[in-house]
Amino acid sequence: MKLKKQNKHLSVEPSGWYWILYILPALLIYTTFMAFPLLDSIRLSLYTGNTDATREFIAFGNFKKLFTDETLSIRYGGAFLHTVIFFLINMIIQNGLGILFAVIITTKTMKARSFYQTVIFVPTTFAVLVTGYLWKLLLNPVWSGDALTKLGLGFLSQPWLGSTQTALVVVSLISCWQWMGIPTMMFVAALKNIPQDCLEVAAIEGASAWQTFTKIKLPLIKPVIGMVTILTFVNNFNAFDIIFATETVNGAPNYATDLLGTLFYRTGIAGEHPVAIADPGLGAAIATITFIVLLIGVIPVLKLTRGDN
């Protein structure tokens, strides 16, 4: 490639081909094992049929079905709504508390900071199955009812996970409980990255803790907030394991906890119990729409939170 004209810079700007060498290993593995299979499976959204032999091209038929078929459109609409609620609860509670905890942990004069930091992370290390089992045990009136009544907390003894009104919120909270460690960790890193001099100047100028937080810390960690938002967004819209562990693959009770991730799994991979016959094309259609929604959400967030030094 041509060399860039040397004017102000004493250096030569490397050509694209040079940089591609750095990108190559990642690009190769990613394309072979992720991009290519995914693109091929997205292509399936335009087809119906279960095996290579029975496939038929139906263009946007699958997409139409998602919005017009009587049962399916109810499921899809429900799953979409539930996923949005799930995401909002996670954003506010998991990420909100994450920032709070990170501020607390990075307060140099606090004692027991590393203890708290480790405690926050412990649930994240556990397999979702364990989390599901534990909370199913704790939230079940049959097992915890007696203990709660003895403590005078009898009113807390409700079938939280079995009631269509409360199940989704409770499962979202359990998800926050489990994953709290990750955003906290990222916010801690971001806060620690803030140059000491900025904070010292603020202290000398007599800024209160709240002022320091809102005027200095928050703006400086904006890129990380953006990153955490995107990661939460992407993970929640594909969330599956937590529902599988605390409820059922069907999003019990009565589909109240059905998310796009569980709907996708039932439609495209496992099929409904007990029939268990999947429709990969339909599943791919669900995943494609989710993908588009995610793109639409991610790009503005990226633009808004790109840090300026």
Binding site: L10, S11, P14, G16, W19, I20, L21, Y22, I23, P25, A26, L27, I29, Y30, F33, M34, A35, P37, L38, D40, L97, L100, I104, T109, M110, A112, Y116, V119, I120, F121, T125, A127, V130, Y133, L134, L137, W143, W177, I182, M185, M186, A189, K192, N193, D197, A209, I230, L231, N238, F264, Y265, G268, I269, P280, A284, A287, T290, F291, L295, N309
Partner: protein, 280 residues
Amino acid sequence: MAQSGSLKKQNRHIFYHFIMIVWSFIVLFPIYVLLINSFKTRLSIYINPFGLPSKFNFSNYTTVFKDSDFLIYFKNSFIVVLLSLLLVIIFSSLAAYALAFWKKRNSKIIFFFMIAGMMLPIKIASIRILEIIKALSLLNTIWSLIPIYVAMGIPIGIFILTEFIREIPKELSQAAIMDGSSRFRIFTHIIVPLTKPALSTVAIYNLIPFWNDLWFPLIFINDEKSKTLLLGVTRLFGQYQTDWSKVLAVLTLSAIPVLFLYLAMARQFIEGVTAGAVKG
């Protein structure tokens, strides 16, 4: 003034401690329930789910150690996870370095192409991936898992690292260039040390899904000697009945290496940050 300042500080600290203690309770109580029930027998959990075991039953833990299969599962998980994390870190930091410094449109296109992988559920591609792994003759070995985990970790690695590398002040690398340093040396001697917190974030972020993944071991591996820990645990799940006290014991043991790896990597934060806090 100094007095009221430190009084305010003290009050704030009490408030902070209060919040953290409440949260710690919310975390530690379920963990306590987990631990005590792993020492009970299958049905005695339900006689008194939140009380200490009347008799500490260690057999759930000892069977894991005596059962040589579980030791193999542990070993397999270690190898797969550590190797995958290593490759993810190396490949994505190299790529992120390039993408952060290469300012052309092609670079942006490649960047978006590579982070798009985060947004799709990898499970839909299962059949094609299975076919590829089969074609490479990696089925039923632990090596089948590494390419797919690395591929899954790269989008996130690139996403996080590109951003962090962009934040590094340009003056540092400019100075090195003027000193005649090669781009690669800049990478190894300046960029990598400064991004240690980000590198450990990427490692920890991927550690959890790699270690706890059930799906890919399930469809790639049938041989006992190649199973990973979580896949091995599913052996304890019957169609209609499960011995949860055993499952809890095994999964508690499974969480310990993860916790250790987290603590080890979290140290990198502190070291990395103190090294990089000096801003030109």
